[in-house]
Symmetry: D2
Subunit: 134 residues, 4 copies
């Protein structure tokens, strides 16, 4: 599903560069002199913890019910905060390690496309039979 | 630490919008008709799993040793792939739920700034004494 | 659902104490002189990583399909190995910190029973309406 | 490090079988009719979330500092609750899937011993050079 084109909804993603958001995170860390705590090891832990907090919102739902959250603005706002934490920590880690994310993501998507050729994996999430999937 | 200004290193982040990367992920999912598997619940699990794979690179290192990975290009490349997977899954989730990430991140950073005032948290990661931290 | 009473299936759990399994893990660590790597921080990371590997088996399944794995001996064996890793790392962490697990679990179950009174939470996983649950 | 022999400390692990603790968890679930939510998929998510909450206690500490928590009774009690949650959820998952944990753990430890021969891995956590480790 593509990002929303709904004119009522904000779409800052269309005009915001990754570097702008990374700088936002870098400044926050600098202003608090938190780089001393932000070893890559520690930030990777923070990131995994935030990913778990995000998952908590979907924990007891069926897969179908989790799709219906698009119509629950309040829950969506809470989920948006958790995704922001996950991506924010990803940016913090990339900042500490000096990794260019756009290059890394493009390269990984090329690798994924080789691993999962579209014609072989259309409608199938893995090489084995998918009777269980959904 | 700010993103690298080294002219030798790629800095595609400076010119790449979040929407461009989101579209890359959305197209990948569409071409494989994987939206049927990409319920928010499932993608949140995929994201947490990728966060754990990223953490694996730092598992047995001291916090100091994890900083020295900036000088290990091969390890850095492998770590970059894992961060790409984490951010890619974050984009996939935002795509499924129609969340504008740049707005969400900016709003969360404002909230974090209120929660952790720079003058109170400078050099301290939490409200309690920090004798253990590093 | 209670543990299986099927006489064909092994039921070593009925006669194995927690201390016996903890000693198995402690001896393994001692024989390799791995306590130097087994700081509580590192073991907590190893544990979270194993929990993610366990989750991988259920990632693309519906909740219903995940129940049907009880009839898939091969997948069940693979899942059993991952649960073993999670519990083994929990024992390793309890060993490093000198925590008595049976006491901790009993105390936590009492606390949970107070938090989730059986008569209020029968058939409900949370205080809010549960229209989405399954 | 072996479990504590300190007579002042409880050592219920020495006399508690795994089956006893599993039954405690099974009864808790049965009394609330929660098996309907306890699909293996959902419990695996709950387990990973608890593992992250456990990790949170060690997130900003150095590896050395995390060892010193053995002398912090209050923090130790809080950590014990989180380990109890992780192991409790592991038992809940084993209950749902009918897996004998003691057999699974013993079998996995044998497999680990083959993978990591004591004489080759003494003092080394991996096959590569370990200059970074701690």
């Amino acid at each position: 599903m593509s990002p929303p084109a709904d004119p009522e909804r904000p779409n800052a993603d269309a005009t915001t560069t990754v570097a702008e958001l990374r700088k936002l995170v870098a400044d926050f860390v600098d202003e608090r002199d938190w780089s001393q705590f932000h070893s890559p090891k520690n930030v990777s832990m923070a990131l995994a913890i935030e990913a778990a907090e995000l998952m908590e919102h979907f924990q007891w739902l069926t897969t179908d019910a989790s799709r219906r959250l698009v119509d629950e603005p309040e829950k969506l706002a809470a989920i948006g905060e958790e995704i922001a934490d996950v991506v924010g920590n990803s940016f913090a880690l990339a900042n500490e390690l000096g990794i260019d994310l756009s290059s890394a993501i493009r390269a990984k998507m090329v690798k994924n496309a080789v691993k999962y050729p579209a014609d072989q994996y259309r409608g199938r999430y893995g090489p084995e039979d998918d009777e269980f999937a959904s």
